[in-house]
């Protein structure tokens, strides 16, 4: 942006392309049909002295002294990245602009009355357990279509559009409504899988299981050592577990299984793939002490840091979230979920790696142009790099990790992604679209994993809940094709 023009050296260029391939590779394959190929295009090393030409540096025509209100979900990523990087970068562009910042956890409770009254903030990081129902917000016309953002020139290189600087699939993951428009900016590049302490596994001679049979054999071995082989936090994070079930279902039956679930297709939940996945995970649930249903995620994660839990299902925010409690000698690593059978549609290496961590702009914000510009700032390399430094997490901004030393967990994610190649499990939109269904899934997941219902009942109950949502005239329906 307004930083000194940089000459991109050859080495930097190679580095950028290399990392881009690593990060963008998997999704590029999957989403090539609808994605613009941005990542791997080597651009001329243009000197970008942003701020010289008004039109270029202010594509949305932001009023220089208009205040901007930003609400950040203060979870695993904290909110320092916003207060110490993103917001100052915005103020650097508009020194007269006053930013009101809020870092909170209860997004929905705090913001629902404000949406009702029309007095909304300008930028919302709609994340966490208590996030706002995006589907309803879009249906009510409360969110801004982000197309102008993606069509605007990039801060790092005004000759490119913002959409061409993002990891492919980013924009698509934020499509909502019918016709689908990009309302959500998913900022963090997130990989999901089984997390473990690489050092411990090395010492014990354990390897992450490739099949569920191996999983059980390993679990017995771990149990013999007095450790809990696998656990998740039932009290507030049962969704970590249902991700694993959904990922396994997609691996068994292909991504169409998850697309059908999102589209509320008839029998989507009673699909054999879902049944097999639920049954396989229920077997693993038997190794878990009942007490895990009453613990919250940080409690279980602390247990893993203390060497009491071997494998833990999570996304790549786990490492930053636990940074303070991770003892020296504990090295986070991630493995894909095991294969259920030899006839699975996707190989063991397949993982879910998608753009996550949603940001939205309320349509009735007082400074919507400022909101768009704030997002454009977020998508600059400087802001993305600061995010990665502060949170040890990758962003969707291509090439923003240049010059950074990756943490063990992030390095492991990159490695797993490379191995996965084009075998990427798609995201699930129903979590954002249909909160009621999602709430039911959390409940049923706990019931399944702690042995109160069978996989069969799990599928029947979920199908019932999905049918109920489908028949509910008060819920706005969404569709997706890929």
């Amino acid at each position: 942006m307004t930083n000194t023009p940089r000459e991109i050296t050859r080495r930097q260029m190679m580095h950028r392309i290399g990392l881009t391939a690593l990060v963008a590779g998997p999704t590029a394959g999957l989403l090539s049909a609808c994605a613009t190929s941005g990542g791997s295009t080597p651009e001329p090393a243009a000197s970008t002295g942003g701020g010289a030409a008004k039109s270029d540096s202010n594509p949305f025509g932001v009023k220089a002294d208009a205040p901007l209100e930003v609400v950040i979900f203060k979870g695993a990523y904290g909110d320092e990245y916003a207060t110490q990087s993103h917001e100052p970068l915005y103020v650097k562009e508009f020194p007269q602009a006053k930013i009101t910042h809020q870092g909170i956890q209860t997004i929905a409770q705090t913001l629902t009355p404000r949406f009702a009254s029309g007095d909304v903030p300008d930028v919302v990081n709609n994340s966490g357990t208590d996030n706002l129902d995006t589907g309803s917000l879009v249906a009510a016309g409360q969110l801004l279509d982000l197309t102008p953002l993606y069509e605007a020139p990039s801060i790092d290189d005004p000759s490119k559009k913002v959409k061409d600087t993002l990891v492919p699939g980013t924009i698509e993951s934020g499509l909502v409504g019918d016709p689908a428009k990009p309302y959500i900016l998913n900022y963090v590049y997130t990989a999901y899988g089984l997390w473990y302490d690489a050092k411990l596994f090395e010492k014990e001679g354990w390897t992450p299981p490739k099949t569920f049979d191996e999983f059980k054999t390993l679990a017995d071995k771990i149990k013999a050592k007095g450790m809990t082989p696998y656990a998740y936090a039932g009290k507030n994070a049962s969704y970590y577990q249902y991700w694993m079930i959904l990922i396994s279902a997609a691996k068994i039956g292909g991504n169409q299984v998850l697309i059908d679930i999102d589209n509320l297709a008839d029998g989507a939940w009673t699909n054999d793939a879902v049944k097999q996945a639920a049954a396989a995970w229920a077997e693993i649930g038997k190794y878990m002490d009942k007490s895990y249903e009453g613990l919250i995620h940080t409690e279980v994660q602390t247990q893993q840091n203390q060497g009491k839990v071997a494998l833990y299902p999570s996304g790549s925010w786990l490492e930053p979230e636990q940074a303070k409690d991770t003892p020296a000698g504990f090295e986070y690593a991630m493995a894909p979920t095991p294969s259920v059978s030899a006839s699975d549609a996707m190989p063991y290496e397949a993982i879910r790696a998608v753009a996550g961590e949603p940001y939205v702009l309320p349509a009735k914000g007082k400074n919507i142009n400022g909101g768009l510009e704030y997002m454009r700032v977020m998508l600059s390399k400087e802001a993305a790099k600061a995010f990665t430094e502060k949170t040890k997490s990758l962003t969707v901004v291509v090439g923003s990790t240049e010059g950074l030393t990756l943490s063990p967990g992030t390095a492991s994610v990159v490695e797993v992604q490379t191995a996965a190649g084009a075998n990427v499990v798609t995201w699930s939109s129903f979590e954002q679209w249909y909160k009621e269904l999602e709430t039911e899934l959390r409940k049923q997941t706990n019931a399944l994993m702690f042995g109160r219902i069978t996989a069969e009942q799990f599928c029947t109950n979920m199908q019932k809940a999905a049918d109920k949502t489908k028949a509910d005239s008060s819920v706005t329906k969404q569709k997706r094709t890929a």
């Binding site: 929905a108 007490s291 249903e293 009453g294 909160k435 709430t439 706990n446 109160r452 008060s474």
Partner: protein, 315 residues
């Protein structure tokens, strides 16, 4: 009757009188109507709409929300939980509080011709009241740690020391609601000990002395004398605890698995209203549940006051 004299006033007096009534009632009434009655009336109106709470638009859908409610298993589960809470929580609280206040006021035998409490009564009265000064939010957070289901939980750790396996206080669906009730009782008992103690100390000591002369033991004293004379205070306590039994929101939200779980085993109406309104953006439906909760509470209050109405025992 006792108003007789005042209302016989002459005309300028009457004017002054009405002026006075108006000036005294205006402020509280305006405040009450604007901030309490008006929002509630609006809530009744919202219950007939499909309002989502996140935009100004809505349509009237008649009684659709109420129809949905009657088919909603979770709603009925919550109602059943209130029934259980209503049955057990006030009863347990009042029983424990009565027992303690009896011990603290008349259980200690006679001293200088007066019935006194057991040793250390004053100390116990102070200590028992402690939980009442803690905000519910604090109590919730506190018990989160105490009830943790593994050996790191305070209670389970203590049990472990005597060889008992950890108990899933909040994760066993058959136990979770009882645990939460236990926390409610824990917090409430102290207040009612003090309240009942007050009632007991107002019973003239001659009543006890006369009974003691007739050879009445502690149990007779308690059931034949203390209890009937405390009836009014008990009734107030019962209504108050009953209204509390229709809440439970803060504790359930903080303590339970998946907010109301496991498997909805601890959910209560306020929590479902909260979820429908703020998580599912179904404000109309949430308001319909609120209307139901209103009528449940009202029915309880009216019934209790009717059923427990008794002749006051004069002394």
């Amino acid at each position: 009757m006792r108003h007789g004299k005042l209302s016989q006033a002459s005309s300028p007096m009457a004017l002054r009188r009405y002026g006075f009534i108006l000036s005294f009632l205006a402020a509280p009434l305006v405040l009450y109507v604007v901030f309490v009655i008006a929002p509630y009336i609006q809530a009744f109106q919202i219950a007939l709409t499909n309002w989502k709470g996140i935009s100004p638009d809505f349509d009237y859908v008649g009684l659709e929300n109420f129809g949905r409610m009657f088919d909603d298993d979770v709603f009925w589960q919550a109602v059943r939980h209130h029934g259980l809470l209503l049955l057990v929580m006030p009863l347990a609280t009042i029983a424990i509080a009565l027992f303690f206040s009896f011990l603290l006021n008349v259980g200690g035998g006679q001293a200088n011709g007066r019935r006194t409490g057991v040793r250390g009564s004053a100390f116990y009265k102070i200590v028992f009241f402690f939980p009442q000064v803690l905000a519910v939010a604090i109590v919730g957070v506190l018990f989160q740690a105490i009830l943790r289901p593994d050996k790191t939980g305070v209670i389970n750790n203590a049990l472990g020391a005597v060889g008992v396996d950890p108990v899933g206080w909040l994760i066993n669906p058959d136990l979770a609601l009882w645990t939460i009730m236990g926390v409610m009782v824990w917090q409430a008992v102290g207040f009612y000990v003090v309240l009942f103690s007050a009632g007991m100390s107002s019973i003239p000591s001659e009543v006890f002395e006369a009974a003691a002369l007739d050879g009445a033991g502690r149990f007779t004293l308690f059931f034949k004398i203390t209890l009937p004379l405390l009836w009014d205070t008990l009734q107030v306590g019962w209504v108050y605890l009953g209204i509390a039994a229709f809440d439970g929101f803060a504790l359930v939200q903080v303590l339970s698995v998946d907010r109301g779980g496991p498997d909805n085993a601890t959910t209560v109406l306020p929590l479902e209203i909260w979820r429908q309104a703020f998580t599912f953006s179904k404000y109309g439906y949430a308001s319909a549940m609120g209307v139901a909760l209103f009528f449940l509470t009202l029915t309880f209050a009216v019934l209790t006051l009717r059923v427990t109405r008794r002749e006051r025992i004069e002394f």
